[in-house]
Symmetry: C2
Subunit: 181 residues, 2 copies
Amino acid sequence: MQLFATQGYNATGLDAVLKQAAVPKGSFYHFFGSKEEFGLAVIEEFSGRFLARLDVLLSDPTLTPLDRLRGFLERGEAQLAQHQCTVGCLIGDLGQELAANNERLRARLDEIMRSWRGRFAACIQEAQQAGELSAAFDPEVMAGFILSGWEGAVLTAKVMKSTQPVRDFLATLFATVLTKP
Amino acid sequence: MQLFATQGYNATGLDAVLKQAAVPKGSFYHFFGSKEEFGLAVIEEFSGRFLARLDVLLSDPTLTPLDRLRGFLERGEAQLAQHQCTVGCLIGDLGQELAANNERLRARLDEIMRSWRGRFAACIQEAQQAGELSAAFDPEVMAGFILSGWEGAVLTAKVMKSTQPVRDFLATLFATVLTKP
DNA sequence: ACCAAACTAGACCGATCGGTCTACTTTGTT
DNA sequence: AACAAAGTAGACCGATCGGTCTAGTTTGGT
């Protein structure tokens, strides 16, 4: 997971994975049919953990829906800073790299991103019902907007080696889009 | 440029480039010192063309500043659709893939993204001066927000194989952030 | 104690990677 | 016409890629 997240899929050789995990090749191919299948398993593992944490944070009853969203995104910013902007979002990274080359992985990444968007949308709808947000916008569209913006901000932060893009994204988002009606 | 944009840098072997260009290896290495140097030249070529077009579109005197920005982004959406969402933004793609692996290319991509952000910022400032936009926001921050959002929307569109993320991004952007004061 | 299944271990494979090398052809200058 | 420089052509190089194969070891059931 770490190697894929930092170097990407193609740039990470199996030998590097095996060395880091201290696992011989025979064992690897006993459990995984191919690098692609292993990649899928890594994605699955990451996605599972991530979605679980997302569900916890977005359903925290001590916060308003909008503050849950803000808290989640700010945690992401902190993590990015913690890794000196070298590690962004594994799903976005692999998506960018593999969307055109590997249909199987692309399809799975697509599903995962849609599930995230769905969670965002639910939280936005709650915010609308709580009167925190104008009900004029389609929650699903708004959720897609936030997801895209987030992925792009993380990408830009990696390129610029600075959390500034993420900070600017969050500041602008909550000052303009996610503002009380 | 086409191969890098569709397959990425690492997944594109030199042999593929040489075959497509019908150029023997000897000629290639007569003009380019390495694949990295070639990659830099490709980036340079793309960046030059792109920035030229950006300058034309963002200084069109027949449109208001905001409409120039909208026109530019909508042209991008049309191009994405034209390629069935297989080709996004070369700079963003390479940035995502190489930011952690190749400092030289990363640094150049960083510069290019900053130059784009600068162009956006100038246009936004014009819009503010023309009264099209609230002057309450820092143009540079707002420009970073748009650039991040755009890159993310294109990334998501590639993964989802649909222009919907880009359409949702633009709709939300011009309905909430880039709205008249 | 025995044995089959599960698993470990890494040498090895052909393909492909980026890059080098030498021999040859074309071009521009005088 | 002569010649040096520029450019062409692709065989070839070691390294590394993902993946295979065989031989050995550990494990769990009986």
